[in-house]
Symmetry: C2
Subunit: 334 residues, 2 copies
Amino acid sequence: MKWVRRWFIAGLLIAGTWAISAGLAEAADALPSWNEGPAKAAIVRFVDATARAGSPEFVAPAQRIAVFDNDGTLWAEQPMYFQLLFVLDRVKALAPQHPEWQTREPFASILKGDVRAALAGGGRALGELMIATHAGTTTEEFARIVGDWIATSKHPVTGRPYTEMVYQPMLELLAYLRASGFKTYIVSGGGIEFMRPWSERVYGVPPEQVIGSSIQTKFELRDGKPVLVRLPEINFIDDGPGKPVGIQMHIGRRPLAAFGNSDGDLQMLQWTAAGAGPRFCLYVHHTDAEREWAYDRASSIGRLDKGIEEAKARGWTVVDMKADWKRVFAFEQK
Amino acid sequence: MKWVRRWFIAGLLIAGTWAISAGLAEAADALPSWNEGPAKAAIVRFVDATARAGSPEFVAPAQRIAVFDNDGTLWAEQPMYFQLLFVLDRVKALAPQHPEWQTREPFASILKGDVRAALAGGGRALGELMIATHAGTTTEEFARIVGDWIATSKHPVTGRPYTEMVYQPMLELLAYLRASGFKTYIVSGGGIEFMRPWSERVYGVPPEQVIGSSIQTKFELRDGKPVLVRLPEINFIDDGPGKPVGIQMHIGRRPLAAFGNSDGDLQMLQWTAAGAGPRFCLYVHHTDAEREWAYDRASSIGRLDKGIEEAKARGWTVVDMKADWKRVFAFEQK
């Protein structure tokens, strides 16, 4: 039976070596798309302090909640929010069923290709567009529509699928946090049911960890079959002061770490920072006009003005995309 | 180095034996408070079919979602919903700050000990009572109030803490499902923030897996400190047709299994049953006037009328508490 023993021991040695090298790799290489610098160092320091057994600031796994904004934090948001590009595509797809749209604003302008004119109608025009493209279906039909769109549509500037317009350093950060026992949530102003059909595949965030804006739904029996119908009424706006409200509603615990890129994330970061013990707040600052876009205080999309002041005053981490990220998108040629 | 090899082999053998006996114990003893019978058999069959690797009906762990009503399903709901007993206690506790309540209904009747008269005002009276006792605090203050109450109050009939008024067979079922890779959720008509302060300790269900009714909250900075203030406005009623809506909002997946005890759970069970593949629906039927209470079609609390008909017609599992449960509460003398 000597060979059995040898076999066992060889197996144990291999497993042990593997475990040790995996541990080292985790510390050294979890964030390969991040340049060495203060942002990466702050992240690693926080994760080590809260997740390493024996650390004086150790936090129980159940309390390790990390919340991420989506637009501009996990994926791009230029030249406009991707959900708005979905709206425009849906208006075109639905137009044959709505001949009246040819002459009715804001639809008529979109069908002529003049988005700016369509959106000149402000919140009311946008509301009409959202309802026409987001309500009236069942939840299952809507998930299918979004799934089809995300699988086939391309970003208007890069020509890449939208799911490739995600930031590689942030994907690494999500995975690093999860490997360190954190539960990662998305907390977005975007539609909750617009994100769920692909959030698990793209970000590793399952539907039950997606928080977002929503319209109302209603339970109905249709020919004895239960459905949830999406109604033309707003239920919840998960933006600005709505983000802590959404976090409390869905999670019921205060996050340990929060990641955003705009003033719409400020209250989420404030709420996170105000908890007892170690907390971590981070802003992604869009500074790279070459590999991505550069915008902040004056932008109508993802404006970062008050937030960057508060980040400076409170010592939150600010990621300078140009300096801190080795690459922005996975598809970049290095 | 012979002793090292022996040591390794002994360890492997012990670990192996332990794993095998743990597997057997799980199947045999996971539900010790359940009598052998059709209800227990149906549960074990479903869990085996969906969670055992190699089963033709195997379901991936991420899809193993089980939802539980609370009042009358996990803990008792007689002589009235426990949250209503909390309301009565809170009115008494707050009365010194509200001298006007001595003469104003429905408060005056409660302070005289006449609950029936107080509730004669119907939904409007109840709404007033809910707002007076549930709104106006921050979320953290409310959690503290609930936590103090649940730690110190006693059930009016049994004299037991409310957290002992939970059904031992259902605690075993929750644990059995979790051990089989299910994620267990509470989906209750009761207040979401009324359950979260104790749901993890009592049921093993963390706050992010509690779904319930809610009032609106608002983010505020008070002296620079962020708080969430509970407002006197209903946000969501998680009952009847609201339960599938709440499930979709919080989980975004259809449950694999649903557990209830009243007509208020019917739509949740319908929604669950309508999914593709194996699904499991169960009603707890209150049939034990001696160890608990006996009530169904004619009860104003936890009415079970349409639900029991549908359960019969569809072959859902119905638990006869008297026949199926070896004991109801952990504190019972055997």
